[in-house]
């Protein structure tokens, strides 16, 4: 009980003078967080797009690919970082293998669903107009699948931003480092600042991608 009174009395949730003197630290953590997230999402796309197109063409590939990444997805991130360290060491590679692996499942599902939902009439019309398979894929099918793919990118981005906070166990926490500091020192300011920036970053990214979707697929706008 005494401890709680002490915390309430002395340590406010945000100590502004600490914050103003630690702006560079906070910004560096934020930057690391953004970099880890961007690499993870782009890396996920680079793997999931060709894999998704392949699984769309050859349905036999769906079960093995979705199954493999589905199992990968159930491994808790903390445990996955731990398992990878003996092989890839304490490095960005360890963090990215885990983060990209999680994103591949999310993106792969949405790529396949998006391509599946292209109406057959549209495909017939494209064939009738003389599109070759590759041109049809690039200029008809992928653009029509874009809303589903961007929806997947939004989910992947937001969930990656959350998982990066746990990468402090391998020394790469981004904003998670601030949360860890708040825990170790029982000091509320870095904890609150780290968590709040994390939520703000996730919401900003989500909103930004929603705007990208509006610009990229104007025809999908609800009337």
């Amino acid at each position: 009980m005494a401890r709680r009174v002490f915390l309430d009395g002395v340590d406010p949730w945000v100590n502004w003078s600490w914050l103003s003197s630690h702006v560079p630290t906070v910004l560096a953590d934020l930057e690391q967080h953004v970099v880890l997230t961007v690499i993870a999402v782009i890396g996920g796309l680079v793997i999931a797009l060709p894999l998704g197109v392949a699984a769309y063409r050859w349905t036999g590939l769906r079960l093995p690919t979705l199954g493999t990444f589905g199992v990968f997805y159930t491994i808790p991130s903390l445990a996955l970082f731990a398992l990878l360290v003996p092989y890839t060491g304490i490095s960005g590679v360890t963090a990215e293998i885990a983060l990209i692996g999680y994103n591949v499942l999310i993106l792969l599902r949405n790529v396949i669903v998006g391509l599946d939902e292209v109406p057959n009439d549209v495909l017939d019309a494209a064939d009738g107009m003389g599109y070759r398979p590759l041109a049809r894929l690039l200029r008809v099918e992928l653009p029509l699948a874009l809303p589903a793919i961007i929806a997947g990118v939004r989910v992947a981005t937001v969930s990656t931003i959350g998982i990066v906070t746990i990468a402090w166990v391998i020394g790469l926490g981004g904003l998670g480092e601030l949360i860890l500091q708040g825990y170790i020192e029982s000091f509320h300011t870095p904890l609150v600042v780290g968590s709040a920036l994390c939520v703000a970053l996730a919401l900003t990214a989500d909103l930004g991608l929603a705007v990208v979707k509006r610009l990229a697929v104007p025809w999908a706008r609800p009337a």
Binding site: I75, P76, A79, V169, G176, S195, C198
Partner: protein
């Protein structure tokens, strides 16, 4: 293969199979934390999702709350709960429950919305009252989606319960955190395998269901 060999030696050591830091104890703690969080989460989330789904109102609210829930870093909630509630199971249960609620609200809402309106009209025509309509028509038809939501929540909770050890709690994450602290490799891979297998009880696909419905 040196790593796997050390894992085997660690597992074969009888000292790791009993006592307060034994594998059965840690597994029990992990299950207890996860079950309690999912059960409390279901008690809160299902009535909300079912009510909203039945009346078909505030659907956007339910979906945005769920998206917001995804944006919350579970580690941040855990440490914040620890600072407020102190040592013990309470902050862990609180954080895990917060994590469990959103998928269950969304899925039960969507599940009830997707019941064929013709069926509801037919039931009303046969004289069903609102409560009977919910209990005997809508709920049975919505069970697959509601269960998918519970599975999504359960897998996330079991995975995140490993983080309990980061705020001095128990569970299988204890081995991972302690393994990192000691720099010993045998310890944490054990937690990986047990936690992974209890997590996959809901089958891998369960996590993925959320992407479609959310």
């Amino acid at each position: 293969m040196d790593f796997l060999h050390r894992v085997f030696i660690w597992l074969a050591d009888p000292a790791h199979w009993h006592g307060s830091d034994g594998i059965p104890t840690r597994l029990g703690e992990h299950l207890h934390l996860s079950l309690e969080a999912v059960a409390i989460g279901a008690l809160i989330a299902l009535p909300i999702g079912i009510t909203l789904g039945h009346y078909g109102r505030f659907g956007n609210l339910a979906i945005s709350v769920s998206n917001l829930g995804r944006a919350l870093p579970s580690y941040g909630i855990l440490v914040t709960a620890f600072q407020i509630l102190g040592l013990g199971d309470a902050p862990i249960i609180l954080a895990l429950t917060a994590l469990a609620i959103p998928p269950m609200v969304t899925n039960s809402y969507v599940g009830l919305r997707e019941v064929n309106p013709d069926l509801k009209d037919a039931a009303r025509g046969m004289g069903y009252r609102e409560l009977a309509l919910v209990l005997r028509i809508e709920l049975p038809l919505a069970v697959p989606l509601i269960m998918a939501g519970i599975r999504t929540s359960a897998v996330q909770v079991v995975a995140t319960a490993t983080l309990a050890a980061a705020i001095a709690g128990g569970g299988l994450g204890r081995y991972i955190i302690d393994g990192f602290a000691r720099g010993r490799q045998g310890s944490y891979s054990r937690a990986l395998t047990s936690s992974g297998s209890s997590g996959s009880s809901g089958r891998p696909a369960s996590r993925a269901t959320a992407f479609k419905t959310a």
